[in-house]
């Protein structure tokens, strides 16, 4: 697929949960069965040849809708992200696919944001996903795009929501640098821990871990991904 020259543009978003587009494509090429790979190659070519929205539903939007039954549910996210990229989906197109999408398609749009949208234009999609109680959407919303653009109040509530709904905080991109010296987040976590203790319920393990990251004396905030094994000393 040499005619997708932008396939490595996601390299600045190098988070463990968000591999580069080139890496995603390479992984699909090795794991898809030949018929699925042929389907994906053709779908990517179609999307590159006819980007933008055409009529009630564009051909590449149809391909996004059927990705799971063509590639297998486990590869659908990656296939959909590549299709969105090949179609040069801008914030308006991403909003349309998200709004008209199943939960699985919405998740793929969220995963695509750090690769496709440089500015904050797609934040309403992240905020929509964070309003749901679908843990798959909440987790997908908290990738590098949210780390870059989400305001402090919304980001703190998202972290707290992870603790409430059992989403592992490992999914939160740039957790350590954003939590570092955040006294307000520390207060919210402390209040939540007291509420759990008063109700004789266990305090989530992840809460102690995030609380430790809020300490001004905590280890310096490194790039995202380096915090995966730290902060467990609670």
């Amino acid at each position: 697929m040499n005619h997708h020259p932008h396939a490595s543009h996601g390299s600045t978003a190098n988070h463990p949960a968000e591999p580069t587009l080139a890496a995603l494509h390479a992984r699909l090429n090795t794991s898809l069965a030949p018929p699925a790979r042929a389907w994906l190659d053709q779908a990517l070519d179609e999307a590159a040849d006819h980007p933008g929205t055409h009529g009630p539903i564009s051909v590449w939007e149809l391909r996004i809708a059927e990705a799971a039954r063509r590639c297998g549910p486990e590869h659908a996210d990656a296939a959909r992200v590549l299709l969105l990229h090949a179609a040069h989906a801008d914030p308006d197109a991403l909003a349309r696919v998200y709004r008209q999408g199943t939960a699985a398609e919405r998740r793929a749009v969220l995963h695509a944001l750090p690769h496709l949208v440089p500015g904050p234009d797609a934040l309403p999609l992240v905020e929509d996903a964070l309003r749901t109680n679908d843990t798959r959407l909440v987790a997908a919303a908290l990738g590098p795009y949210a780390a870059r653009h989400l305001d402090a109040h919304t980001w703190r509530h998202a972290v707290l929501k992870c603790l409430f709904t059992g989403v592992p905080v490992d999914v939160v991109a740039d957790l350590a640098p954003r939590a570092h010296a955040d006294a307000e987040l520390a207060r919210m976590l402390g209040d939540y821990a007291r509420e759990r203790t008063a109700a004789d319920r266990p305090v989530p393990e992840d809460l102690h871990r995030v609380l430790a990251l809020t300490e001004p004396t905590a280890a310096p905030a490194g790039p995202c991904g380096t915090d995966r094994t730290s902060g467990k000393e609670s």
């Binding site: 039954r69 549910p73 199943t102 939960a103 749901t132 109680n133 059992g166 989403v167 989530p204």
Partner: protein, 282 residues
């Protein structure tokens, strides 16, 4: 025992029901879109409902180890409301989704001209999208309703072996079977079929192309009726293979006609506090 409930409205049920269904052996279900009890007044209400059947409801089901698919359509009752009919123009973009395994429930409620139009249009949509169709037979004037339904199916582009005719009973089963359609039976506490009558129908007509569902919804209904029928069949001397055919293999074969059935359940990555349906403090 593995059970596939081919017709149940989980939107109207609680997580207790999901838990009890899983304990009873339910591992897969199809939720057809239908009337919500309170009439809708706009297309937007349908779209939110369809989105829920493709988003939140499969998420809830997955947390209880149950694969959730859906059938989408304008239901017969609301096909009579001109404020709702334009949803037919929105259906094509929904019928391409991975989890949509049929068009349904369509069919007749009061057998009006508007219902004729919606039924014929949606059988055509099913044919266009290579989907089977779940066709409800009316509760009132059922015999005449079945005949008119089968006539419309015969005139449609959809072959009868891609049509499941539902809510059948002793009076309608023979004609439906002769048509070549798949045969659906809804088992209810008071109305429709009951377990013992279901056993008698299966004894007379055999298990081929027969599907049994609870059709549980917001009315008096029981999401465990599929299991109760299975138990009644075993008690009456049917084999475990017969039960598996009616309660698993037949629904898998029918909805498998869509090419979109995916029976593996991926449980969301939840590490503690059970799940988000517990809501935490929200």
């Amino acid at each position: 025992m593995r059970i596939f409930d081919p017709h149940i409205h989980m939107t109207s049920r609680t997580t207790d029901d999901y838990e009890a269904m899983h304990t009873a052996g339910v591992r897969a279900l199809v939720e057809p879109s239908f009337w919500l009890g309170q009439p809708r007044t706009s297309v937007a209400s349908f779209l939110d409902y369809f989105d829920s059947l493709l988003g939140w409801e499969p998420f809830r089901a997955a947390q209880y180890g149950i694969a959730h698919h859906c059938a989408l359509a304008l239901n017969p009752k609301e096909a009579n409301d001109p404020r709702c009919v334009p949803v037919l123009d929105e259906l094509p973009r929904y019928l391409v989704k991975d989890q949509v395994v049929a068009v349904g429930e369509i069919g007749y409620d009061s057998m009006t001209p508007a219902e004729d139009t919606a039924l014929a249009a949606q059988l055509q949509l099913a044919a266009d999208h290579e989907l089977p169709a779940l066709v409800h037979t009316p509760h009132r004037d059922k015999q005449a309703g079945l005949r008119r339904t089968l006539d419309v199916v015969r005139e449609s582009a959809l072959s009868p072996d891609r049509v499941l005719v539902d809510h059948l009973n002793e009076n309608t089963v023979k004609e439906a079977k002769d048509s070549g359609c798949w045969l659906g039976f809804s088992v209810y506490p008071d109305t429709k079929m009951d377990e013992e009558r279901m056993v008698a129908v299966l004894a007379e007509y055999g298990p081929e192309r027969v599907l049994v569902n609870s059709a549980a919804d917001w009315g008096r209904s029981d999401p465990l009726k599929t299991r109760r029928v299975a138990d009644a069949l075993l008690a009456a001397g049917f084999t475990e293979d017969d039960v598996d055919q009616v309660l698993w293999r037949n629904p898998v074969a029918f909805y498998g006609l869509s090419g979109r059935l995916s029976l593996a359940v991926t449980t969301p990555d939840v590490t503690h506090e059970g799940n988000s349906i517990l809501r935490g403090g929200e």
